[in-house]
Amino acid sequence: MRYLPKSDAERAAMLREIGAESIDDLFSVIPEEYRLTRDLNVPRQMGESEIIDYFKAAAEKNAQAYTSFLGAGAYHHYRPVIIDSLVQRGEFLTSYTPYQAEITQGTLQAIFEFQTMICELTGMDIANASMYDGSTGAAEAVMMAVRVTGRDDVLVARTTHPEYREVMHTYAQHQGHEAHEINYAPDGRIDLAALDEAVTDQTACVLVQSPNFFGIVEDIPAIADIAHEKGALLIVSIAEAVSLGIVRPPVEADIVSIEAQSFGVALSYGGPYCGVLAAKEKYLRQMPGRLVGETKDTEGRRGFVLTLSTREQHIRREKATSNICTNQALVALMTTIFLTVYGKQGMRELALQNLAKAKYAADALGKYGKLLFAKTPRFHEFVLQTEETPSRMNARLMEKKIIGGLDLRKWYPELGNATLWCATELTTKQQIDAAAAIVAEISVASAAR
């Protein structure tokens, strides 16, 4: 086996030195009845070229060379080449959690830079070293708010990603807190009147996503006022982190939960992505996950170290702020490199391009359907209502190798034949025009009928 660095002679010699007659001596502690005496029924050992052929064949069964207008929590942005060059360095790829600070300063300094960047983008004071993803991060943020406030009622905007809401429900069910959903108003934003009515002095937190699942930017200051008036925390969940380049940071929030996949992370059929929590400094002790801090060594030189670990499971066990151990470190490094590449100006320019492309796409497609919530500020996603059913429209688009908007009927049946479209800096005018032309065919036909 090519990964194993020993010859049979070396194995035999080592066994002799141990004083074992055969390798099975070392497994004799396993009761005989449970020893596996046959080969595992898995595919035979393959050569490297065969492995590549296997995955190439699988990859070809997936969409390739399609134009896609899908977003909805997973976004197709350009990934600068140097991200992959750098994260494939063995010193990043094959090291582990930086418990031994003297020989993991590279990882530690990069995480410190990551934490700083997340604070800068969100307007929060502190950020952790990453969570699994945006959905579990949101669930952990809710649990954090419950701990901070000692209250157990949770209000969640119905325009939060439906899968995030499901995950929050899964996490909440045995925590003794309950989540209630607040519907959206006709403008696609959270219904402020309904929210105002629902917030009580038992409300631990209000969680909204912004831009929300419809791509609409929420009125964060207004929501914060309502939550804070009753002493509840405001959690803002951000599924499209690139929006922070052009959208006002949610500075009124108490906790911000981000999915940072947009920062240079491959779509990869849904993971691995990169969640991260940011918060006001006063909530530091309730923050889950790893934190890197700056300190000095015995000679007074600057260094970085994992810190405040008394919040964590390996010290606090059942009293920890979370059970999280392994996080998404390498993916957080990818996002750090991405943010270093784009920098201060690039993030704005990139976000602005997304805004422009989506505006053009919404206008182009809006001619052949109804653009919902058209007057409300949005980032790079929009909801299109058509006469034709989403499945039929998308089937026609697919014939031209275009993946159209996401069918929303499963989650928002009240919107009728609604689809959620996304355009990013990678979507070209030509692709948008092509999609609009195909959507137009049926619209023109039905108008003639």
Partner: protein, 515 residues
């Protein structure tokens, strides 16, 4: 090197060399530099304020402004400050720091795999579903369980899912029960998980051999017990020889046996948890199945279970339809629900499957045998200089204690730091908690005899230094960029982000800030 008299070991594996200084990216930044170039906008430009109104961003984030070559050097220099498996043995016990094959990285970046959107239509996702199906089948065969879900993002997330399933199962019988029994040798994630699923933790004291005290367990288990969370082999690297009795004790009272699969690298191809009474367990693909640790993640923690627990697995799941094709389904009425968005860390599924295909049944078995051989070799070569608290046979890792060294004022953490000077990553220190001053060493199968011998040599020389020159060890490391860090101040006065100068036009004298 410290100037104390006495024995100073010879570091055969390493020679000191220069590493480059590198400030924070923010400190290198200067206005107007760019590391990117966007394609020209092919649609009309827009006015952000007109479109977003008061929701438009009016402050600029303080992000660095650097050119591409500076960014490459920045992160490359940082990388050289890390130790890694690619550089040498990384015997961090319980973490299974094995070789991360590069073909795994290659195939995970194929276009149809890396660019697959989670919501793209099923008929354009069949390649992803085929990969998921084959990985599930392989892992079910390897564990001897009946069903599996790949969603959890890490081991602790797998535990969370498995204990939620345990709860849902008991609930379906009318009573979720109240407690989870956890041995005192367990990983901290186990009690933290039990608590997050609404259970009280009952601590089970290990017996004189460091294993489960079956008699004590039998007294402890009752109708309130939901499950025992057991790591097997245990965190001292010992197989629970009475595993079936343990399962019987639990099952007699209707409780479940949960297995923390952190140590599966000792079992693959040699025995199967499903065969020795485990009801539900998680795997760590980033340990046993070679997906890269990446400085602390991403991981992947699939949950496998027996058939009676399958109805409670998370959604969605891949199923074979009447049309003979794979489909996503959420038709699982008793499910614990969705534990994360989409389907899991798919990129890790690809890597783990590539590893299984590269090994085949013979390679997987040989891997396990070599991992156990390596641990026992280290044990044999060091047991005369380091205290072995439990004489029970070792599997894939060996745990010593610093009992003999503490007489000279040297603790496990000091020996670990000194090991750095010899060119090795330290073992896991001070865990498991049942061994005071533990040295937990897991070599994995990836080490050659030459590397093991260098490690043994280093550990033996350190033992001699402890006897003859203890200060050299307690003040280690001596060869790194920085010496021991002030962790107390880091925690008391946390500095968790860089704060720049008030205005970004100030010229930063980076030289003065360098170490």
């Amino acid at each position: 090197m410290a100037t104390t008299n006495g024995f100073v070991g010879t570091t055969r594996k390493v020679t000191a060399h220069l590493t480059q200084n590198e400030p924070l990216s923010f400190e290198k930044s200067s206005p107007g530099k760019k590391g990117y170039k966007l394609a020209p906008l092919d649609v009309p430009e827009v006015d952000a304020t007109a479109l977003l109104g008061s929701a438009a961003r009016d402050t600029e984030p303080m992000l660095p402004e650097l050119s591409e070559i500076e960014i490459i050097r920045h992160f490359t220099r940082l990388s050289t400050w890390n130790y890694a498996i690619d550089l040498g043995m990384y015997p961090l016990g319980s973490c299974t720091m094995k070789y991360n094959p590069r073909v795994n990285e290659f195939v995970s970046r194929l276009e149809g795999i890396a660019e697959a959107h989670p919501y793209q239509p099923e008929r354009l996702s069949r390649g992803a579903m085929v990969i998921i199906k084959l990985l599930k089948d392989c892992l079910i065969e390897i564990t001897g369980m009946d069903a599996i879900a790949l969603h959890p993002a890490a081991g602790a997330h797998g535990e969370f899912t498995g204990i939620l399933m345990t709860r849902a199962y008991h609930q379906s019988k009318g009573n979720p029960r109240k407690t989870i029994i956890i041995p005192d040798s367990a990983h901290g994630t186990n009690p933290a998980t039990a608590a997050s699923c609404g259970y009280q933790v009952v601590n089970l004291k290990s017996n004189a051999q460091g294993g489960v005290d079956v008699a004590a367990l039998a007294q402890m288990v009752n109708e309130d017990t939901a499950a025992l969370m057991l790591t097997n082999p245990s965190t001292i690297g010992v197989f629970e020889g009475e595993i079936h009795k343990i399962a019987d004790v639990l099952h007699d009272k209707g409780a479940l046996l949960y297995m923390d699969g952190a140590n599966m690298n000792a079992l693959v191809g040699k025995t199967r948890p499903g065969d020795f009474g485990v009801d539900v367990m998680h795997l760590n693909l980033h340990k046993t199945f070679s997906t890269p640790h990446g400085g602390g993640g991403p991981g992947c923690g699939p949950v496998a279970c027996k058939q009676f627990l399958e109805p409670f697995l998370p959604i969605p799941f891949v199923t074979l339809g009447d049309d003979g094709l794979l489909h996503w389904s959420s038709d699982r009425p008793q499910t614990v629900g969705r534990v994360r968005m989409f389907y899991g860390n798919f990129g890790m599924f690809v890597r783990a499957l590539a590893y299984i295909l590269a090994n085949g049944p013979d390679g997987l078995r040989q891997t396990t045998e070599d991992a156990v051989l390596n641990a026992n070799y280290i044990r044999k070569k060091l047991e005369d200089v380091y205290e072995l608290p439990y004489s029970t046979p070792s599997m894939h890792e060996v745990v010593f204690s610093d009992k003999r060294q503490t007489k000279n004022g040297v603790k496990t953490g000091d020996i670990a730091k000194r090991l750095i000077d010899y060119g090795f990553h330290p073992y896991t220190t001070s865990f498991p908690l049942i061994v005071p001053g533990a040295l937990m060493i897991e070599p994995t199968e990836s080490e050659s005899r030459e590397e093991l011998d260098l490690f043994v040599d280093a550990m033996r020389q350190i033992a001699r230094e402890v006897d003859e020159n203890p200060e050299l060890v307690t003040s280690a490391p001596h060869s790194t960029r920085i010496s021991r860090l002030d962790e107390t101040t880091a925690a008391r006065k946390p500095i968790l982000r860089w704060k720049g100068p008030e205005t970004d036009t100030v010229e930063i004298d980076t030289a003065a800030k360098e170490w």
